[in-house]
C-alpha cells in the first residue's frame, strides 16, 4: 500500500503516528462514546431534556452564534485594513490579532471580567447607560468575540491578498464606482472565507470554557454554559450524564468542522 516513491520510513512513521493517535485520541474518545452507549437511552434523553441542560445548550449556542456574527462583520474590516493599507505600526496591529489565540483563556477570562464589572474600566461607562455586561449573556458574547476574532481575520486575510488587482481594474474601467467594486467583486470573492472563519469561530466558542466561566456569572438556567454543566456533573460523579452532554456537543462540533473543511476545500478548488 506504500506510495510510488522510494523514501524510507513508511513503517516507522505509520507506527509512531498510529500509536500516538490511538493512545492519545482514539482510545480516550472511543472510551467516551462507549460510555455514552452504556448509559441507556432513557438516561441519555432525560439528561439532555433536563431544563438546566436545555438552557445551557441554548446559552452556549446562541452566544457562540452571536459572537461569530460579530466577528464576521468586524473581521473582514480588520483583514481589509491589514491587507490594503500601509501605516506605521502595522506590524503591531497585525500582532494584536494573534493575541487572543496565544493568550491563555483563563487570563482573558479574569481580565475581561474585571473590565466589564460594574466598577471596571468599561463597566463604569456602560452601567449608567443601563447596559450590564459582566455576569450576563452579553458578557459571554464579549468573551467569545475576543476568542474567535483571529479565526475570521486569519481566514479572510490570505484570500483578500489573492484577489487579483486586474479584476478590480477591470471593474473600474467598466465604470464601477469603488464601492460597487467592493460590493460586487471583492465581497463575493471573500464571502466563503468569511463564512469559514465564522464557522471556526463558532465551533471554538461553543466549547470555550476558560474565557467565559469568569464573566458568565454561571447562574443556572440563565448564564450557565455547557462546559460548566459538564464540570458540575463530573464533580457530582454523574459521569454518565456528563458524557451524554459531551457526546452531543462533540457530534455538533464535528458537523461544523466537517462543514468548515468542506467549504475551505471548495474555496481552494475555486482558487486554483
Amino acid at each position: 500500500m506504500k506510495g510510488s516513491n522510494k523514501l524510507p520510513g513508511f513503517g516507522l512513521s505509520l507506527g509512531v503516528t498510529m500509536t500516538w493517535l490511538s493512545l492519545i485520541v482514539l482510545i480516550p474518545l472511543g472510551g467516551m462514546f462507549l460510555k455514552s452507549a452504556t448509559i441507556g437511552w432513557t438516561e441519555f434523553v432525560d439528561t439532555l431534556l433536563d431544563p438546566q441542560v436545555v438552557s445551557a445548550f441554548r446559552v452556549s449556542f446562541s452566544a457562540a452564534l452571536a459572537a461569530a456574527a460579530i466577528n464576521a462583520v468586524f473581521g473582514p474590516v480588520l483583514a481589509w485594513t491589514l491587507v490594503r493599507y500601509e501605516f506605521p505600526g502595522k506590524r503591531l496591529v497585525d500582532g494584536l490579532v494573534d493575541v487572543p489565540f496565544a493568550l491563555p483563556t483563563a487570563v482573558a477570562g479574569i481580565t475581561l471580567t474585571s473590565l466589564y464589572a460594574p466598577d471596571g474600566w468599561y463597566g463604569r461607562f456602560l452601567e449608567p447607560l443601563g447596559i450590564r455586561v459582566a455576569y450576563t449573556w452579553t458578557g459571554i458574547v464579549a468573551a467569545l468575540v475576543f476568542v474567535g476574532l483571529p479565526f475570521v481575520v486569519r481566514t479572510v486575510q490570505p484570500v483578500l491578498e489573492d484577489v487579483p488587482s486586474e479584476v478590480e481594474d477591470a471593474a473600474a474601467a467598466l465604470g464601477a464606482s469603488r464601492l460597487q467594486t467592493i460590493r460586487r467583486v471583492i465581497f463575493p470573492a471573500i464571502l466563503p472565507a468569511v463564512i469559514t472563519g465564522a464557522m471556526l469561530s463558532f465551533a471554538r466558542a461553543v466549547g470555550e470554557y476558560g474565557s467565559v466561566v469568569f464573566i458568565a456569572g454561571n447562574i443556572p438556567l440563565q448564564t450557565e454554559i455547557l462546559p460548566l454543566v459538564i464540570i458540575t456533573k463530573l464533580e457530582q460523579y454523574q459521569y454518565g450524564q456528563a458524557t451524554a452532554i459531551a457526546t452531543v456537543m462533540l457530534l455538533v462540533s464535528f458537523v461544523f468542522l466537517f462543514l468548515g473543511n468542506y467549504l475551505q476545500g471548495r474555496l481552494r478548488r475555486r482558487a486554483s
Binding site: 491563555p104 483563563a106 466549547g207 455547557l226 459538564i230 458524557t243 459531551a246
Partner: protein, 275 residues
C-alpha cells in the same frame, strides 16, 4: 498605466478612514486595553505586592507544574508531529484523508471534554482507574493527568504547521538523497529538517503557548491541589476566586508575557519563512 491601476484600486478617503478607525477601535477595545489592564491590575498594589505574589511558594510550584507540562508535551509533539507529517505528505495510502482529520480532532473538542475523556479512562469509576488503583497508581488529580491532558490538547499544532509546508515542497530532494545512498536519518537531518525548520519551530512555539496556557482540560483532571497539581492558569483562577486580584493578575501577567513572546516570535518566523 501603473498610475491608472493604482487609482482604480484606491479607496475613497472616507472609506479608508472608516476601515482604519473601525480596525483600531475594535482591536484597541477588544485586545489592547485588556492586555494593558492585566499589567495595571498586577501592579495596582505596587511592585512589592507583585513580587510577593509571583514568588509565593504556591506560585513557584505552579510555575514548575506549568513548565513540566510544557517540557513533556512539546518534545513529544515535535517527534510525533514530524512523524505524522512525514507519513501523510510522503506516502499515499488508503485512509490518509481520514488520518489527517483525526490529527485535527483535539482542535474541535471542547477543552472540558478533553479533560473528561481522561477522567472516564483513569478516574476511580473509569475504565482503567480501578485496575491502576489496585497497582497503587493514581493518574487523575496527579501531574501525570495534567501532562496527558496537555499532550492531548497540543498535539495537532506541530503536524498542522508541517503538513502544508512539506506537501508543497514535494519529495524530489529527499528521493535524490536516498538514491545517492543517504540513509533515512541523514536524509531527514540534512534534507528535510533544514527546509521545514521554520514551520517546525512555529508549530513548537504555538504548542508551547497552548501547553502553558491550557485551562479547561487541565482544570478537569487536576483536582486543584495547591503546590502539587496546580498550573499557573489554575493558580490565577484560585487567587481570583479568593478575591486576591493583585495576586491573580500578577500570575496572569507572567502568562501574558509568554503570550506576547509567542506573538512576536510568530511574526518573526513568518517573515523568515517568506524569505
Amino acid at each position: 498605466m501603473s498610475k491608472a491601476a493604482s487609482s482604480s484600486t484606491r479607496d475613497p478617503a472616507w472609506l479608508r478612514i472608516l476601515a482604519f478607525s473601525v480596525t483600531l477601535g475594535f482591536l484597541g477595545l477588544v485586545v489592547l486595553v485588556p492586555i494593558v489592564s492585566v499589567f495595571v491590575n498586577a501592579f495596582a498594589e505596587g511592585v512589592g505586592a507583585y513580587w510577593e505574589a509571583v514568588s509565593h511558594p504556591d506560585a513557584l510550584a505552579a510555575m514548575r507544574m506549568t513548565l513540566l507540562a510544557a517540557v513533556c508535551s512539546v518534545p513529544f509533539n515535535a517527534v510525533c508531529g514530524f512523524a505524522a507529517a512525514w507519513l501523510v505528505t510522503r506516502f499515499r495510502f488508503p485512509g490518509r484523508d481520514f488520518l489527517v482529520s483525526l490529527i485535527d480532532v483535539p482542535f474541535s473538542v471542547s477543552p472540558v471534554i478533553s479533560g473528561l475523556v481522561f477522567v472516564l479512562l483513569f478516574g476511580s469509576q473509569g475504565w482503567f482507574g480501578p485496575i491502576l488503583e489496585d497497582l497503587g497508581i493514581r493518574v487523575i488529580f496527579t501531574p501525570v493527568a495534567i501532562v496527558l491532558a496537555t499532550v492531548f490538547v497540543t498535539f495537532p499544532f506541530v503536524a498542522r504547521e508541517l503538513i502544508p509546508v512539506m506537501e508543497e515542497q514535494g519529495h524530489q530532494a529527499e528521493e535524490a538523497a536516498v538514491m545517492l545512498g543517504a540513509g533515512a536519518w541523514d536524509t531527514i537531518r540534512r534534507v528535510t529538517l533544514p527546509s521545514v525548520k521554520w514551520a517546525l519551530l512555529y508549530g513548537l512555539i504555538l504548542s508551547n503557548a497552548r501547553a502553558m496556557g491550557e485551562f479547561g482540560a487541565v482544570s478537569v483532571v487536576s483536582g486543584h491541589v495547591r503546590g502539587e497539581t496546580n498550573t499557573l492558569p489554575l493558580h490565577a483562577e484560585i487567587l481570583y476566586n479568593e478575591y486576591d486580584f493583585t495576586g491573580a493578575f500578577a500570575v496572569a501577567s507572567l502568562l501574558t508575557l509568554v503570550a506576547g513572546a509567542t506573538v512576536v516570535l510568530k511574526a518573526w518566523l513568518e517573515r523568515k519563512a517568506r524569505k
